[in-house]
Amino acid sequence: MSANNEPKLRSKSASIRAYSIMVYVVVIFFSILAVIPFWFMFMNATWDTMSIQRGIKLWPNPNAFKQLGINWENLAKRSTFSFAVGFKNSLIISVSATALTVYFSALTAYGLTVYRFKGRKTIFAIIVGVMMVPTAVNITGFYRMMSAMGLLGSKWPLILPAIAAPSTVFFIKQYLETSLSMEIVEASRIDGAGEFYTFNRICLPIMIPSLATQGIFSFLGTWNNFFAPSILLSRNEDKTLPLMVAQLYGDRYTDYGMIYMGLSASVLPVVIVYAFLQRYIISGVAAGGVKE
């Protein structure tokens, strides 16, 4: 909407210019505020503890690479923090959970959109209804159930529930209603394709934009999840990255460089992924008001 009015408004003199400078200052301030902690984190990871104690470091160490190596080694020595193990566990859980969420949510959304079966509307209403019920509420029952099944410390309790993700179903269904035409399904049937074939080979590709967005959010949600893993996982070798990070405190003799190293290591993969996917993430937020 801005394009048409632009020239006219540009001419509107100094007061607007002053106003816009003020706006820029504020907006840039908040943009910087959003990233400065990460900058701080990364910079301090390149310093040794002694230097950090002497003063806050907002610039990289001249010997950054050497110190990074030392900090990383110190980090690796910690018995409670293993980046490799945490990363691996987080990755396994997040990838599996995301795959399950995306596939089964697509399946459910498709089932609710394409087939006119009885109770369809009720089921969808229920899905919308339970969308906001947090998993944390049933944690007592969930924990005891998993305990009874001997699944404490296992990854299954963190992966399998991903099959039922009401909000993902909701958003995929929203997408399907606007972008899936029944003609495609009909055509596929006429060509003799089975229902599952139609879904997997023909309709699933159509859904990809929506699935990608939902997949990103599902992945981030699982990756950052702390509550359920903190309750279900207790052995170090089972822990996910957030749980490892949570153990990254120390006493007063702590190696600060090492702590910042650990924090940076946990942040960096997400930042890199975000750098590539931010466009989709932001449009996803804008489209659905996705909030975990």
Partner: protein, 806 residues
């Protein structure tokens, strides 16, 4: 919406069953992983989960809230006058009176060092010479009554002003009093402050002469199978053949009454709802034989000591708030009267008339009831430390009886060494072995259960074999009798007898094949035997609000509000600027991306980072925030030492993580507003501000409401950040208050159900979850309506276009 022609519609009818197949995985997974746990959470919330598997516990968990926090109304209820016997207003006055009195006493004016400190420091302070003289006199004569009430008031006021001096006083309070108060508040958990622990009170000793009756009953009484199992289990612990034998030996003095085993047996047997070996609650056997202990105490000349000590500990309990006065006021009066009548203390008689409390004139000073009590203890027992220690121990013992094992299970954790010191002869290793063996603090040893299971099965098989033998022996007679009446009457007595015998043989054979043990009935891994802890409502009795559910709800709501208000305001401002056509900001995409970044980063990392940033160390190391303060010439400030500073840090993190998100949602909302509205506004000559307030804000209202509700639901689940700001109390000099100030609902649930404490209050955690669920449900319904309106609007639009499928 896709348009389907009639042909397609008819065809798709035959495919409808695939709809069920397609949604089946979702429905099944949801039922298993969300619905079932949710329902069991509801179920647990009505169960006493401390003792065993989910025994039905009614609404006790809810009552706990009600009683402790919402039940102030009960105090002022209409039936109060009748229940308590005095007027409500009078009661409140008496209560306040006692509270003030006990607080005043906490001053401990007759400690020598303390008094000297007061005299030295007070000479330059606001204390008059008269007061100092009186204080000296009081010290010399060891009698507080030399202190006039004027002077006392001065000291009290002064004390609050000069807390360092009062600190000297309180630090110098003789160790004997510390020991005594240890009775009132035993066992503090490593981290949690004293206020967390419910006092184990030594109430008046229960007396009864039913002991012999009880033993007789144990030997000959009719018991259910479960009760027998329980008794056998306990008897096995004692090393005697039967419980009756054990109790007789205790009575005869062969077994030490101090033995924890004794409390254990007692606590498991005597509760109204004892827990049997199978983990089930059974009707307990009533064991009122404290008389035995009383005899023991009296024989050793400790009876008045016990009374004094127990009353003392109770009075201090009122003073420090560990005992709720309004729960106890009746026994308080009785205690005081007993002590008064025994000449141990001189109590002021209170007369209540027409809403005013008057003191009777013949009484001595009103504030020295506790003091005289202390003096009595000093004079009589302090001279002999061992005797006092023993007496204290005995008081504890009495408390254990009164408390039915709770003390040993909760309180003994730390005092056990004290206990050992006092009793001297007791072998600590034996005690710990015992504890380990029965799994006192942990879930019951699974192997133990297997053993029990095996034993149960064996006994069942033996029983069944016996049944078969007996039945087979009786069978020929029965057959003969039935044959004698002709062998055709299927309604005859003989026929019934015969069939009964045959059936019992069949079922006994079944039993031998598949003997029923314990494990088949309950999952023993979940059987907790915190049997002395049935009254977990007492955990809630802690007066400190922030330790509690209500405190947690309050914290959560508070931190959400403080974080949300700046967040939504900033997001509104930024979104207005970002969509302002006149400004036409450049780099919008980048800014959006930067502002949204904090939202995708693991919250735990951010929490740990901020803890580093604001942490405080006395070791000469300054964190970033401290360095900034020092650079500007300030003193290092312990952020995490202040409840509000910590809350603000949590709020700031929430604000910082979410303003970008809210902004993006709002931008999307604004850009979806029809452009023609803005155009016509512009033609009408509206400026940016007018356009914003007249068009943008009203049309944005549903989106703002949506943001509000989703943020609220998210805020209710606040966990990661406060939990990790809080994780290691040692690091950031956390004190008790600190932890409480940011304890959210989920942290509370987590602590209760999965915390490190010995007693996991799963029922309470579940009840809290249910409350959270209710709140969330209300909010969800709200958001459902908001979203449904949107859908309805969409559907209407679709209807107009004609693309409907019916």
């Amino acid at each position: 919406m896709a348009r389907a022609n009639n042909n397609g519609k008819r065809k798709s009818m035959s495919y409808t069953r695939y709809g069920y197949i397609f949604i089946a995985p979702f429905v099944i997974a949801y039922c298993i992983f969300s619905l079932y746990p949710l329902l069991t959470t509801f179920w647990y919330s009505t169960a006493n989960m401390q003792s065993a598997t989910a025994n039905f516990w009614g609404f006790s968990n809810y009552e706990a809230y009600y009683d402790r926090y919402l039940d102030l109304t009960k105090l002022y209820s209409d039936s109060f006058d009748k229940d308590v016997g005095i007027k409500k207003a009078d009661y409140v006055k008496i209560r306040n009176f006692f509270a003030a009195q006990d607080k005043a006493d906490a001053y401990d004016p007759l400690n020598e060092d303390g008094v000297n400190a007061i005299i030295t420091n007070g000479a330059t302070g606001p204390i008059t010479q008269k007061a100092i003289d009186e204080l000296k006199q009081a010290l010399d004569n060891k009698d507080l009554s030399y202190l006039s009430s004027d002077s006392f008031k001065q000291l009290k006021d002064w004390k609050s002003q000069y807390s360092d001096i009062s600190l000297v006083v309180s630090q110098k309070v003789a160790s004997i009093y510390t020991q005594i108060s240890a009775i009132a508040t035993p066992a503090t958990d490593e981290e949690e402050s004293v206020e967390e622990t419910e006092a184990v009170t030594a109430e008046s000793i229960y007396t009864s002469d039913q002991y012999d009756e009880f033993v007789a009953n144990l030997s000959s009484g009719e018991f259910t199978e479960d009760q027998v199992a329980l008794m056998n289990y306990l008897a096995a612990k004692t090393g005697k053949a039967t419980l009756a034998e054990y109790f007789t030996s205790v009575k005869n003095g062969e077994a030490a009454v101090e033995d924890p085993l004794f409390y254990y047996v007692l606590s498991n047997l005597s509760k109204p709802n004892a827990v049997n070996a199978e983990g089930k609650t059974v009707d307990g056997v009533s064991v009122p034989f404290i008389k035995n202990v009383e005899e023991y105490l009296t024989a050793n000349g400790w009876s008045d000591m016990i009374t004094a000590l127990s009353s003392y500990s109770k009075l201090t309990g009122y003073a420090d708030g560990s005992i709720d006065l309004h729960d106890d006021e009746e026994t308080l009066y009785t205690d005081l009267e007993t002590l008064h009548n025994a000449g141990i203390i001189n109590i002021v008689k209170l007369e209540v008339k027409n809403g005013t409390v008057t003191e009777s004139q013949d009484a001595k000073s009103d504030s020295n009831c506790l003091f005289i009590l202390r003096k009595f203890i000093d004079e009589k027992y302090v001279s002999n430390e061992n005797e006092l220690a023993t007496a204290i121990q005995i008081t504890k013992l009495a408390a254990y009886y009164e408390d039915q094992g709770r003390a040993i299970l909760v309180g003994m954790k730390i005092p056990v060494d004290k206990y050992i010191t006092y009793s001297g002869s007791f072998d600590i290793n034996k005690y710990f072995d015992f504890k380990r063996e029965i799994g006192l603090y942990d879930a019951l040893n699974y192997d133990k259960y297997k053993e029990l299971d095996k034993a149960r099965k064996e006994s069942n098989v033996a029983k069944a074999q016996k049944t078969i033998e007996e039945a087979e022996a009786a069978l020929p007679d029965a057959q003969a009798a039935y044959a004698a009446i002709g062998g055709e009457d299927t309604k005859s007595k003989e026929y019934n007898t015969l069939k009964k015998l045959e059936l019992s043989i069949v079922s006994a054979k079944d039993t031998i094949k598949n003997p029923v043990g314990i494990l088949g009935k309950v999952d023993a891994r979940y059987v907790y035997i915190f049997s002395g802890l049935e009254n977990y409502a007492s955990i809630f009795a802690s007066k400190t609000r922030f330790n509690t559910v209500i405190g947690a709800f309050y914290n959560t709501a508070l931190m959400w509000v403080i974080g949300f208000i700046p967040q939504i305001l900033l997001a509104l401002l930024l979104s207005a600027w970002f969509t302002d056509t006149k400004l036409h900001l450049k780099g919008l995409g980048l800014m959006k991306a930067l502002m949204y970044l904090p939202n995708v980063i693991t919250a735990v990392t951010i929490a740990i980072f901020f803890r580093r940033l604001f942490g405080y160390s006395t070791g000469g190391t300054l964190s970033a925030a401290q360095q900034v303060i020092v650079a500007f010439g300030g003193e290092p400030y312990n952020f995490f030492g202040s409840a509000w500073a910590t809350r603000f840090i949590v709020c700031f993190i929430n604000f910082w993580m979410w303003y970008g998100n809210t902004m993006i949602v709002l931008i999307a909302g604004i850009t979806s507003i029809s452009e023609s509205l803005y155009e016509s506004a512009q033609i009408d000559g509206a400026n940016s501000f007018q356009t914003y307030t007249r068009i943008t804000l009203p049309l944005l209202r549903p989106i703002i409401l949506y943001t509000l509700v989703t943020s609220m639901i998210g805020g209710l689940q606040m966990f990661d950040i406060p939990m990790n700001i809080n994780l290691n109390p040692a690091l950031v000099n956390f004190n008790g208050t600190m932890i409480k100030s940011i304890r959210t609902i989920l942290i509370y649930i987590n602590e209760q159900a999965f915390g490190r404490q010995d007693v996991k209050l799963v029922g309470v955690a579940a009840a809290t979850s249910v409350l959270l669920f209710i709140v969330t449900t209300i909010l969800s319904i709200l958001i459902f309506y908001i979203m449904r309106d949107k859908d309805a609007a969409k559907a209407k639009k679709a209807l107009k276009k004609g693309g409907t499928r019916g």
